[in-house]
Symmetry: C2
Subunit: 331 residues, 2 copies
């Protein structure tokens, strides 16, 4: 494998010059630069990442920790997130390191190993809990990170989030405009921050429309299709009156739509349904699901930008991204 010395020899310059061509092109005379670039191309030279990392004291690598035991994330949304993060990393010449962790307790050790070993320069946190032990740990250790999501009190740390509350307010307003007065709501446990915020938005939306909050119309359960199905069935079985239903995730909405179908209450016609996320399957549902899209590319880009700022020690203000209401046939 060619090294910088090989390139230098071939171009008739010193290794230092080659390095400058790569990292500080302004310092090098154009003709020299040409010669060096040519040698690089001819030899198919790529700088050795380890050597670089050693000298520059950074890895240009983003760490992403994926819980994988009980807490495993199986919502297809996360696949989209990984795609978006990968693209954003590529756009900034960064690499993306994925580490999985079966055991929540091992999280912190994994973080330390990756960071102290300088395998990554910092982390992106996903699946935030309202009380998340990782945050104080990272802060105490001075490890750069960005959270995708918030925690209970908006701590003084960099985060990027989609404005679930605004999205849900918009969803409620949209349904109200269409004449709905009884809007059911399905949510994952509120210890998940995103669920909490979305639920707040639902409540705020009702209040803004002057509609009463009725807890019998709200169901808290797991964020899966199955749970959405069961919850909607329960609502129907209990004869809770509702003409519209909002689910905090598309997966739950998909489950609920199925329950409605089964009960002969055609979603989109008799009962309006709105989801959240806009996973690929949402557009393919029957009827196609009206939902609040999380603009993935924008999220990925915001996360990486903020991550870069955090790694450089620059102060980064939190970013709240508005979701986009995608109107399809379900509502």
């Amino acid at each position: 494998m060619a090294t910088i010395r090989d390139v230098a020899r071939r171009a008739g310059v010193s290794p230092a010059t080659v390095s400058y061509v790569l990292n500080n092109p302004g310092l090098v005379r154009p003709e020299t630069r040409e010669r060096v670039l040519q040698a690089i191309a001819e030899l198919g030279y790529h700088p050795h990442a380890g050597a670089r990392q050693l000298k520059r004291r950074r890895a240009d690598t983003v760490g992403l920790i994926l819980p994988t035991g009980e807490r495993r994330l199986s919502d297809p949304f996360f696949l989209e997130l990984i795609h978006a993060l990968g693209d954003a990393c590529a756009a900034h010449q960064l690499d993306l390191l994925i580490a999985t962790c079966r055991d929540p307790a091992a999280d912190l050790r994994l973080i330390d190993r990756l960071y102290k070993g300088r395998r990554v320069d910092g982390f992106i946190l996903i699946d935030l809990q309202r009380q998340d032990p990782r945050i104080p740990h990272l802060q105490a250790a001075g490890i750069p990170f960005v959270a995708f999501g918030r925690i209970e009190e908006d701590g003084a740390f960099p985060w990027v989030d989609v404005d679930g509350a605004a999205g849900m307010r918009e969803a409620v307003a949209y349904l109200v405009r269409k004449g709905h007065r009884h809007i059911a709501y399905l949510s994952p446990p509120l210890a998940l921050t995103f669920a909490h915020h979305r639920f707040q938005g639902y409540c705020a939306g009702l209040a803004e429309a002057g509609l009463p909050f009725d807890e019998t119309r709200v169901r808290i359960t797991r964020p899966t299709m199955e749970a959405g199905y069961e919850a909607a069935r329960a609502l129907l079985a209990e004869n809770v009156p509702f003409t519209a239903l909002i689910a905090a995730t598309d997966l739950m909405a998909l489950g609920a739509m199925r329950a409605l179908h089964e009960a002969g209450r055609a979603p989109g016609q008799e009962i309006a349904v709105i989801g959240f996320d806009d996973i690929p399957m949402a557009a393919q549902a029957h009827p196609p699901l009206t939902t609040l899209r999380q603009p993935m590319d924008q999220i990925g880009e915001a996360l990486i930008r903020t991550w870069l700022a955090a790694v450089r020690g620059e102060p980064a203000s939190p970013i709240l991204i508005p979701p986009i209401l995608i109107r399809r046939e379900s509502a």
Copy 2:
């Protein structure tokens, strides 16, 4: 950040000894080792990955390339695969680097950059085409890799695959045992190797049961829920007779089930449906989907083992993993 010299100083030994404690513990006297381990713990020392990589000439990192433009993989199956790969990597003290690539043509350049820069020691290839340009490129460049899947002619390269043909033969046999004679089949384009093999299995299954192959019962389309839905609808609309349906992916099966529902041909009762993959949603479908499970943990482990062999230059024989028929209510 503590270095090996700090540890050495604190334990009253030389850096070399510390290194041996970490990499070759047998060489060090137990008492000395104890002292060194203590110093490591006290300082919270973790070896610098870049330095290690430089000296050892390997990165202990697996590269996974995720296509992300047109070819983007949105089947939730891939999220499971990433989880499984992450776990298998962790079990072998490897890191997993994910690189995304919008442009198929840029694939090869990305591969070169990551490998020649020694960012990764080798690759895991997914989403194999029957003619895959990456294979000859990697072989010619002498870059270690394992493919998850096969190509047209079983080339002499290491791969791991789930035995789609065997799975489909089993599915057909199972249906035949239940009395079905007219079995429809939905498949993605056969240029995808897995689709090709599964289709072969379907044909073989029919042959083994002495049933005629009828191409009007076979539909080739995109591997999405929507496409599965459309294909099943078309079968029904054209009055193609069938009492059972096999789809090459769960997503397609899910779509097909919806079409059956809509047509009032209750899946699982009137028409048997079998999928392939066992994505999390399969168990939550209505009725729960009978499917051929790809044993993810086993796949992840096999891929990493084979990858390690490839990286070490050992000959690794291909591994064909049998899928597991999961009997649920849809068939």
